[in-house]
């Protein structure tokens, strides 16, 4: 009787806590979307920002965000997969690999503003890349790589040892076992981690302020030669992203409609991050179905 009563109480408290969490999240989402969505239009999404007049959009920032994301993932996905495979499948348990793991964990807990300043010193100043998409992409790689690597490692680790034995006992080499059995099995987890990482990168501002810069020069969308200075693909041009733009408008924006632009940009950012999150679930379910033949 008593334990039954406590069970009810404990269940009630847990439901209450979960409910509060969901309410906070729902409130934030509704607040941002409610305030922002009325300002979002095709015009808003495609026109360049204006510094002094009303009617500016976020076209260039939006493009910059996606291009920077693409470059950052292009650099970090191969490295994180290689490092994750090494740590999970090949690394022996010794002081060196435990040092590597500890370093990765420390790296992943660095505040992003510190990563940004590091990127500013190393990529922008020392390497001479200046405020550029490439500096930003490299800084985001530093920011994202530890988490992606750990994600790959943990996804691979979660595959049962009996699968490795099955592969080896079947006469596959170690590399064939990893490549053709373990990685395909871990793929849903790896893909989920990559997409969630992409969402994190997409919303990142602090690491980019001093690396990709805070200005969004006009782009010539008719010239896609990456060496042309106003080309959208030029990786050496400064590129303010959506998240940085929001930060900048709110700290020093002097256009009359700053509040509206900020609200609209926030709504777009939130929607993009939500798409990444739901996309991760959807794609990972599809990948799993495809791998296992359940679909």
């Amino acid at each position: 009787m008593n334990s039954k009563k406590w069970n009810t109480v404990a269940t009630g408290i847990l439901y209450f806590i979960a409910g509060v969490m969901i309410l906070i999240l729902a409130f934030l989402l509704i607040f941002i979307l409610w305030n922002g969505l009325p300002h979002v239009s095709w015009h808003f999404l495609t026109t360049p920002a204006r510094s002094f007049q009303t009617g500016g959009g976020i076209g260039i920032q939006l493009f910059n965000s996606f291009y920077l994301l693409f470059l950052a993932m292009l650099i970090s996905i191969p490295i994180s997969i290689g490092a994750g495979i090494y740590l999970s499948e090949y690394a022996k348990q010794n002081w060196l690999t435990s040092l590597i793991r500890t370093s990765i964990d420390i790296l992943s807990s660095l505040p992003s503003i510190v990563v940004g300043l590091f990127g500013f010193l190393v990529f922008s100043i020392q390497a001479g890349l200046g405020f550029s998409i490439l500096s930003g992409a490299l800084a985001l790689t530093v920011f994202n790589l530890p988490l992606l690597t750990r994600n790959v490692e943990e996804s691979l680790n979660s595959i049962s040892e009996s699968q490795r034995e099955a592969g080896l006992a079947l006469g596959l080499s170690k590399w064939e076992t990893v490549l053709r059995i373990i990685i395909p099995e871990a793929l849903p987890g790896i893909v989920t981690g990559m997409i969630l990482g992409a969402g994190r990168v997409f919303g990142e501002a602090a690491a980019l302020i001093y690396t990709a810069g805070q200005s969004a020069p006009a782009l010539d969308f008719t010239n896609w030669n990456p060496f042309y200075i106003a080309s959208p693909l030029n990786p050496l041009r400064p590129a303010e992203t959506l998240a940085v733009h929001i930060w900048k408008i709110n700290s020093e924006g002097i256009m009359p409609d700053a509040a509206q632009v900020s609200a609209g940009a926030s709504a777009v950012l939130i929607i993009a991050v939500l798409i990444f999150n739901f996309g991760a679930r959807f794609i990972s379910a599809r990948v799993y179905g495809k791998m296992t033949g359940t679909k």
Binding site: Q163, E165, A166, A169, L170, L172, I181, G293
Partner: protein, 255 residues
């Protein structure tokens, strides 16, 4: 008699250490071609460990040292030049827990062949049918080869795992307590299948189930605390063992 047949595997004076613990204390044992040999003994006696020395699966465990010789077709598999990948194609293994890959049944069976470079769809189709028929599961699952192997029951999964091994056409099949995770009906199906496979394969079976050993094996080896106590025809072991320990174990006085 079995003695007239060719010896396919001869193990002599095999010692195995996990770190400093001696798990196998000098095992000398021959396996005749196309026999079913059962390895029995209480938990921790070293029978599974010995089985895994035959395809060098113990190499994967850190801190293991092995001395002695294991000859397959007259070649020492512990010689430095041995290619363990090629070795494990000749000596297939089935584990205690069914461990199908989470792919379709078809892919499970052809995985070894595909990676060996077989592309011809007809060859693969044929291998799937032959192997699944040999594993006595073809009729049950022939209409759902594209379904996930994980959707099958435990007994069916284990037979798919056996088909996966058969598809690579090994000479020897090692089975490490293949039925201990299965219900009696599935176990019986696997036993019948092993009896049919005896015509073509050399089978070495670790089992906890003494009825199973007595029903299907030609020879039985009794292990105790890392030693091989007795190795003889299964009938002799079960009806007329020479050693006191064997008799005690068979009659259920310990273990």
């Amino acid at each position: 008699m079995a003695d007239d047949k060719n010896k396919i595997i001869t193990a002599s004076d095999v010692h195995l250490f996990y770190g400093r613990f001696e798990a196998l204390k000098g095992i000398t044992l021959d396996f005749a071609q196309k026999d079913i040999t059962a390895l029995i003994g209480p938990s921790g006696c070293g029978k599974s460990t010995f089985l895994r020395t035959l395809n060098r699966m113990n190499d994967l465990i850190p801190g293991v040292t092995i001395t002695g010789n294991v000859m397959l077709h007259g070649k020492n598999i512990y010689a430095p030049a041995t290619d363990t990948v090629a070795l494990r194609k000749e000596i297939g293994m089935v584990f205690q827990q069914p461990n199908p890959f989470p792919f379709s049944i078809y892919e499970n069976v052809v995985y070894g062949l595909r990676l060996a470079g077989v592309r011809d769809r007809r060859v693969l189709d044929e291998a799937v049918e032959t192997s699944l028929r040999q594993a006595v599961i073809w009729d049950e699952i022939k209409d759902k080869l594209n379904q996930s192997a994980l959707s099958l029951s435990g007994g069916q999964q284990q037979r798919v795992c056996i088909a996966r091994v058969l598809a690579v056409k090994p000479d020897v099949i090692l089975l490490d307590e293949p039925t201990s995770a299965l219900d009696p009906i599935s176990s019986g199906q696997i036993e019948n299948m092993l009896l049919e496979l005896r015509d073509e394969y050399t089978i070495i079976l670790v089992t906890h189930n003494m009825q199973q050993a007595s029903r299907i094996s030609d020879k039985t080896a009794f292990f105790l605390q890392g030693n091989l106590i007795e190795f003889a025809d299964t009938k002799t072991i079960f009806l007329n063992p020479h050693e006191k320990e064997t008799e005690d174990y068979i009659s259920g006085r310990f273990g």
